[in-house]
Structure formats: structure tokens, C-alpha cells
Amino acid sequence: MDDFVWRALIGGVGVSLVIGPLGCFVVWRRMAYFGDTLSHSALLGIALGALLNVRPQVGIISVCILLALLLVGLQQQRQLASDTLLGILSHSALSLGLVTLTFIEGLRIDLTSYLFGDLLSITVQDLYWIYGGGGIALIGLLKIWKPLLSMTIHEELAKVEGVAVGWVRLVFMLLIALVIAVAMKIVGMLLITSMLIIPPATARYFAHTPEQMAWLASIIGSIAVTLGMVMSLHFDTPAGPSVVVAAVSLFTVALFWTVLRAGNR
């Protein structure tokens, strides 16, 4: 196999390992739209990164974090519901990003690769980002795992039992921001949320504990990335959408398997 295939495989699996457990919490806490919003701000991050002459990942992480903080602040007011706020932020960030990009002279970026991912062009440096950032995210998630699970079940009960609810929530949002920045290259900003959601949803059919669901989601995500990449190489389909198609196929199989098993009983 060619080197670029290996890099794609290693990078894709690396991202899947982190995004699975984190995605479980996104599913449990009903934060899918939050993930969408953060990823839509990525273009703005890339544009700002170009303006300030820093790597795109740095721009993306910064903008994602700013947006997460902004959202926490905005949620203090009660007139608008969370999903309305997210809708406003999500689309304004996307549009602002696209508009800003056209103003940057001499910048030639391949928009499609950011929108839909560019798995097969992963560089060694990208791998450092994925494993560095992903490693930090995974360690962070392990550290807050128990309190976060506790407050996902009942926030007030967790607080009475001594969980620093505000901090844990903030750390969790920052971890999502980090992982989105890291995973951008794999499936692209428009499809990242699918990798946060589809593998955990698939894992749910087989899991009996939260932890089982988390590691199953990692494995299922890795399989989806591998299958998607094979498909992309064979049929010359775009990498990001191929990965998502593979993930959805696994989900469908799991769904039918569960339905059939229930029918047989």
C-alpha cells in the first residue's frame, strides 16, 4: 500500500477512537446541534488563521472555543431557547467564514476539502495534530468522565453530591471544540457531527453500560473510517461522504439485527 493510504488509515482510526466516547456524551446530552454549530464555525477559523498567519488548526480551535464560551454566556438569558441561539450562531459563523475567505487576497484554499474532508491527503504533521490533540481530549474526557456522567443523569443531584457542574460542562465543551478541530480533515466540517452521532447510536444497540457504549463507538467509528477509505480508493468517491455512508450502513445493519432479534424472541 502507498504511504498516503497508511497515513489516512492511522489518522482516521485515531480520530475515531476519540470521537466515539465524546460523541456518546453528545448523544446522551442531546447536543448534536451544538456539534454542528461548532463545526460550522471552522471556516471562520481557517480564514482568521490565514489572516493571522497561523496554522488552520490553531484558527479552528480558537474560534470553536470562543463560540463555545459565547454560547455559555448567551444561555444565561432566558428569552431564547438553546436551539434558536445555536441556529443563529451556526449559520452566521458559516456565512461569516465564507464571506471573510473571499476578502483574503491570494489565499487559495480548496473549499471542498474543508467542507467534506480530505482523508487521503493527510500529512505526517496532521498525524501529530490528530494524536496530540486527540490524546489530550481523551485524557481530559477520562478525567471528567464520572462527574459528567453523573450530571448527565441529574444535574442537581450531581451538584448536591459535590460535582463542580459549571466547570465540568465548560471542559466538556472545550473538548468538543478540540476534537472538531482535529477531525476536520477526516470528514470535513459539514459531516463531522455525523461521526459524533452515528457510531454511538450504532453502539447503543449492543451496549449495556455507558463505558461499553463508548468503546464500541470507538471501534465502530474505526471500522467505518476504514470501510469508507477503501470505498473511496476503489470507486474514487469523495472520502468524507464515503466514511459517513459506511457508518450509516453499519448503523442500518445494527438496527435490522436488533429488530430481527426482537422479532425472533
Binding site: V27, W28, R30, R78, K146, L149, S150, T152, I153, H154, E156, L157, K159, V160, E161, A201, R204, A207, H208, T209, P210, Q212, M213
Partner: protein, 260 residues
């Protein structure tokens, strides 16, 4: 020193005053029951005491270093989270199987229940599991928001007995919210009748005769309460704390008539 001192607490939600000038003390080995109609501010008072919301004015003083066990009014868990009863209980931080076994026995939960998904157990079982979670922390103060909801009639008796027993055996203070007016009397030392402000408080027998209580719950409820008190606790004369400026929220003549 009391476990909790609530001092002239008021709570405001936007324009709406949920609690007004509420003061009370909670002691070790004491069971205090909050009663009041829906929306009276019972859960709000509980939240203030737990430190979950800050009062608009007034203050809550807690004895240093006390542990609180809390049983929330409702717990809804989405089916998307695979969670067994055992795992839910382990989240309290208590891991020793022996403590777990004893606590389960104490609240009357069979160990077979441990392996079941939390979403599938019955309402009554859920209440006991929640109580177990609160007890696992070996609390100095137990706060129970409507502990008998969804429990069958026999179960209600049992639960109140259990609560009384927890008090004698563990010696903790207990604050609970209740809607039922007669059963709860078997277990409580004093009653606080709440409707945005404290209408009256004191021993069940005394509260049942109080005009503010009658205005709030009507004659039928008073008979229930008096019936109980007559049988169980009316022997000792216990004083009811008098409040000078009681404003019944519902004028007595607007209350639904009790059929005779």
C-alpha cells in the same frame, strides 16, 4: 446548633416571587415535612436549602461539613443511555459492596433489581432506588422531595415507616415534601405549611387546627389530620408557632365546598 438555618429567605424568578420571608431551622434527629399546594414553592425551598439556587434576599446557614443526601422530585433518563440500577448507585461514589448490600436491604430493594436498566424499573422501585442513592452517602441531612409519589398504598405506609426508622437508626435530620395530608403524619415531628410564605408550622396536631391550614386545605383535610393526631400524638400538648401577619392566598369563601 441546627443542621440548617434558613433566615428570612425570599426567592424571585423574574417578576414572580416564589418564596417570601421564609425562616426555619432543621435539627439532627428531626423530621420536618413541607406541605402546600402545587406551585407553593416547596421544591424551590428545597433547592435553596441544598444550595442549588441563591435566595434573592435572606440567607441559609449550614452547619460546617455536613453531608446531604438528596432525593429529587423526578428523574427522567433517556433510553439512549444504557444504565443499570447498580451503575446508577455506584455514581454516588460508594463502592464497597457491603455498604451497598446493607443500604439496599434497608430500603427494601432486592439485589436482582441491580442488573436491570434504570429506565425499566417501576415508579415505586425507582423511589426506593433514589432513596438508596441518597442514603449511600451516609448523610447528616436527608432531603426528600415527594418520596412517596408513584408508590402503592401499602408501599406508602412502608416508606414512611422506613423514613421514621432511618431517623432513629441513623440519627440524621430529614426534610421532606409531601402532598398527602394524613399518611405523612405518622412519620413527621413537625409540619410546615407553605404557600409562598410559611402559613403555619408546628406539630401536626396543632397545625391541623390552625386557621391558615384550614384556609389552604379545607375542612376535609383538617378532619384527616385531626383523625390521625387524635390517634397518635395528641397526648402531648405541642405549641404551634404563631405568625401574626398571615395572608391566606386563597380567601376561605372561594375554596371548593366539601360535600357533606
Amino acid at each position: 446548633m441546627p443542621l440548617i438555618q434558613v433566615h428570612e429567605v425570599s426567592v424571585k424568578f423574574e417578576q414572580h416571587l416564589a418564596l417570601q420571608n421564609v425562616s426555619l431551622n432543621l435539627n439532627r434527629r428531626e423530621i420536618v415535612t413541607l406541605i402546600g399546594p402545587n406551585g407553593a414553592g416547596k421544591s424551590t425551598l428545597v433547592r435553596v436549602i441544598l444550595g442549588l439556587i441563591k435566595p434573592y434576599s435572606g440567607m441559609v446557614v449550614r452547619q460546617n461539613g455536613i453531608r446531604i443526601g438528596y432525593m429529587p422530585q423526578k428523574l427522567h433518563i433517556d433510553a439512549v443511555l444504557p444504565l443499570t440500577v447498580a451503575r446508577f448507585l455506584a455514581l454516588s461514589g460508594v463502592q464497597q459492596p457491603e455498604v451497598l448490600r446493607n443500604t439496599l436491604a434497608e430500603v427494601g430493594v432486592k439485589t436482582e433489581l441491580l442488573k436491570r436498566p434504570l429506565q425499566q424499573i417501576s415508579g415505586g422501585e425507582m423511589q426506593r432506588v433514589l432513596l438508596a442513592r441518597a442514603l449511600l452517602r451516609a448523610p447528616d441531612l436527608l432531603v426528600l422531595d415527594e418520596p412517596i409519589q408513584g408508590v402503592d398504598v401499602n408501599g406508602q405506609y412502608e416508606l414512611y415507616e422506613l423514613i421514621a426508622q432511618i431517623r432513629t437508626q441513623r440519627g440524621c435530620g430529614i426534610l421532606m415534601v409531601s402532598h398527602d395530608l394524613h399518611l405523612v403524619m405518622a412519620a413527621t415531628d413537625s409540619i410546615i405549611c407553605l404557600n409562598q410564605q410559611i402559613c403555619c408550622m408546628g406539630h401536626p396536631a396543632a397545625v391541623s387546627q390552625h386557621p391558615a391550614y384550614l384556609a389552604l386545605f379545607g375542612a376535609r383535610a383538617a378532619r384527616d389530620l385531626a383523625f390521625y393526631s387524635h390517634h397518635h400524638a395528641a397526648e402531648q400538648e405541642l405549641p404551634v408557632k404563631k405568625f401574626e401577619n398571615i395572608i391566606p392566598i386563597v380567601p376561605a369563601e372561594n375554596l371548593p365546598r366539601v360535600p357533606r
